[in-house]
Symmetry: C2
Subunit: 462 residues, 2 copies
């Protein structure tokens, strides 16, 4: 008899006492006088199916002693139970054990702290919370791909190992095949990088943007979606050493077009999740973050606000509260400022545009005022900055000047300048930290809890 | 006036002399007595649109001197030209220059070698060949996601930085934040790894499979799709240091189920490309590999063959030709053997199953014969091995024994053993080298030509 997925059973409105066969894992077992109640899950659904096993089944004694996580095959009748908590249950005619489990499973039924569950990262997807989170992670990733492909964007796998320091955007991990206990040296006594795998120093990428721009100038609309790295010794709930970034890049687009697309993309992902993961979102709303569903609906329906950085500073200066980091024109906004603007002033996502050039990357386009650049960050409740975008400096002369002002090595950026030398095309793009997005759509408060096997200082287990 | 994509113009069957506005890059210009012929491309389509500019246009002199790659905005009438090479052309009423280009573009109209174009990796997507290849790369990636998501698979981002040596599958890149010119030492004079970012030695992953298995035992069907790394000093057209892998993993599945799914997935990708990239495939068939379309159709339509390794050795021993690597039971098949089987014996993709355990990874399930394991490689014409799969050893005792036989450190694999300790569930999976797949579906012969910015020994440019 063919196996039916538990997901499929839940999708059927009525069951009419059909015979079915389910193959899954035993999640809980409760034994009463004449029968046992088993909860079985097969991974296809957050929800388990309840299985009733009566005492007269041949291997009843074996069944009642089964440790959780054992693999079982249940054949029986699906019976609708409109008055019970679960909409249907299976009355087992046969239950066979397909795989054993030891009985000392470290995740017992009581609630474990997320801290403890991180030490069991190989087992935590079996809990409801992490099942919901990682299912949403998968669906959100696909929603991003689907939205961008439907809009004609070409997916580019930009390199992970790089010899450029990208935007000088923070500390990097070095990649090497040299034997650290037996390093080759130059005559001057330095490490001889010419003997390394790539014959020079290489690092893990901090952003795929610059190389993505090369593709935008051939394909018009492109995006990256891959891992990026920061070797910052940050021990906050918001920082991981390894995380995924989505970086769309659009030729012929200005800052307004960039913001319009990022708003559309974010709304698409939220709508996709509300449609495809209602059980998971409801579970997280009930157990992790009781404002989650309200926030997602608002994100889907509200028109995002838009203000300039200068206006944002005014609002912060007028705020009826104090901040840990003092506010004045020229500062980089801190999370507390970003959250105040999106949570208290606008109570929805808000784009802040035209930041001072000194606090933004060299590749952003100078505004005519000489002081600001065509940048736009999207600030959202609970998270702060979720998306960072800008119009890129497409003018060859201006970009050359900026590279000088930022003390970058022109030779290293020659290929990037070539993109302007052979086509000064207006273009713009943005980056979304995928894990920030996941924290926003799951309500999880620690980035370590939205990454399957998180990497943070001192932690690279599994 | 709103901009129309060139792709949209090609999708329309008739144009009826509509007024349109196109924004794109000048690809070629040819000037005759009374008019000029421009080819313009906007990245949305492999095909350019031809623009006719007559001498009486105000800035005609400026136009005729425009270097290629300049950004232009054309407004005019689309006129169907059923008798000409191109199905329609635009008669320009206005043509304005939106971005300048220098005139020394290194890719001139003559054909460049792929070797030369690799040195111009930031510009080569602007050529027809690489436009086609990277468009197909994007579509193939999406087809993989779409097929697996539609089949209920959960996408898992397995870690890139790892402290395990996975299957011992080849040389790895070390990841460090230590200053190589000033390494901290232990009292014994060795590098003090406890001072490194992760407080131990870490490397770039060679496979996400083992961690994906942890997720398959919670979600049933999962897959990874991300970058993997090999620090092998290989200078062949088939090896890159950085490449992407697709690794589906299925609980409750055996080797036959694994093969069935991989065949279905491969056919889905091929069908998707034939539907979504007909121009690109036709271009590659005409210019790169004239057997491409025939091979893809066959892949889509044929039932893949299936033989055991033992049978494959017999066929190779009986072959009416000699091989560089001598054939006998127990050897690892070489590309020449794999290609002979798929190209000459079966003339289509063929699964080879049940390899000798000594040449396969520790995690593969031992067959009852004591000599072979439940492995299956898919061999395809022109490439050789495209997919490697196996049923995993789910039996706790047998896996413990295998870890010993392979001289692996049991402590390091305890978490992997836990997956069996808490649920001995039959499961299977496979890995597809994404670039091998791309070489198969594009006809490109060098892996460096299907990766946007390839990394090979001595080469990490851009």
């Amino acid at each position: 008899m063919e196996t039916t997925l538990i997901k499929t059973l839940y999708q059927q409105a009525q069951h009419g006492d059909d015979q079915v066969c389910v193959l899954g894992w035993l999640k809980t077992i409760r034994t009463a006088k004449k029968l046992s109640f088993l909860e079985v899950n097969d991974g296809s659904s957050l929800k388990n199916v309840q299985v009733i096993v009566e005492k007269d089944i041949a291997n009843y004694d074996e069944i009642t002693k089964l440790p959780i996580n054992s693999t079982v095959k249940v054949t029986g009748q699906v019976v609708d139970t409109p008055k019970a908590k679960q909409p249907f249950e299976i009355h087992a005619a046969e239950l066979s054990v397909k795989g054993q489990s030891d009985s000392d499973f470290p995740l017992q039924k009581k609630r474990h702290s997320f801290e403890y569950l991180r030490t069991q990262a190989h087992l935590r997807p079996r809990t409801n919370t992490f099942y919901a989170v990682f299912k949403i992670r998968s669906l959100a990733a696909f929603a991003v791909h689907q939205f961008l492909q439907e809009h004609g964007f070409v997916y580019v796998n930009t390199p992970i190992i790089t010899s450029s320091d990208a935007e000088g955007a923070g500390d990097m991990f070095q990649v090497t095949t040299l034997d650290l206990n037996n390093l080759p040296k130059t005559e001057a006594g330095k490490v001889d990088e010419s003997q390394d795998f790539f014959k020079k120093e290489t690092n893990l990428t901090v952003s795929g943007q610059l190389t993505a721009e090369a593709f935008a100038l051939a394909f018009r609309d492109v995006y990256t979606f891959g891992p990026t790295f920061r070797a910052e010794n940050s021990h906050t709930p918001r920082h991981a050493a390894e995380f995924w970034m989505i970086e769309p890049e659009m030729a012929f687009a200005d800052l307004q077009a960039e913001m319009a697309l990022s708003e559309k993309l974010l709304k698409y992902v939220v709508d996709y999740l509300m449609q495809k993961a209602p059980d998971e979102l409801a579970f997280l709303d009930a157990n992790v973050d009781d404002g989650l569903l309200v926030r997602l609906k608002k994100t889907s329906q509200a028109d995002f606000a838009q203000i300039t950085y200068t206006k944002a500073i005014e609002l912060l200066e007028k705020a009826d509260r104090s901040f840990d980091y003092p506010v004045k024109w020229g500062i980089d906004l801190q999370t507390e400022h970003e959250r105040y603007l999106s949570e208290e002033v606008y109570q929805k996502p808000v784009f802040v545009t035209d930041y001072p050039k000194g606090i933004k990357a060299f590749y952003m386009r100078d505004n005519p005022d000489g002081k600001t650049v065509a940048a736009a960050d999207l600030l959202v409740p609970r998270i702060g900055e979720l998306i960072g975008g800008s119009q890129r400096e497409e003018r060859q002369a201006e970009l050359t000047k900026k590279i000088g002002e930022f003390d970058l090595n022109p030779a290293e950026y020659q290929w990037y300048l070539d993109l302007r030398k052979y086509g000064e095309t207006k273009h713009a793009g943005f980056g979304i930290g995928f894990e920030r997005l996941l924290m926003y759509v799951t309500g999880m408060e620690n980035i370590r809890d939205v990454i399957p096997f998180p990497r943070t200082p001192g932690n690279a287990e599994f």
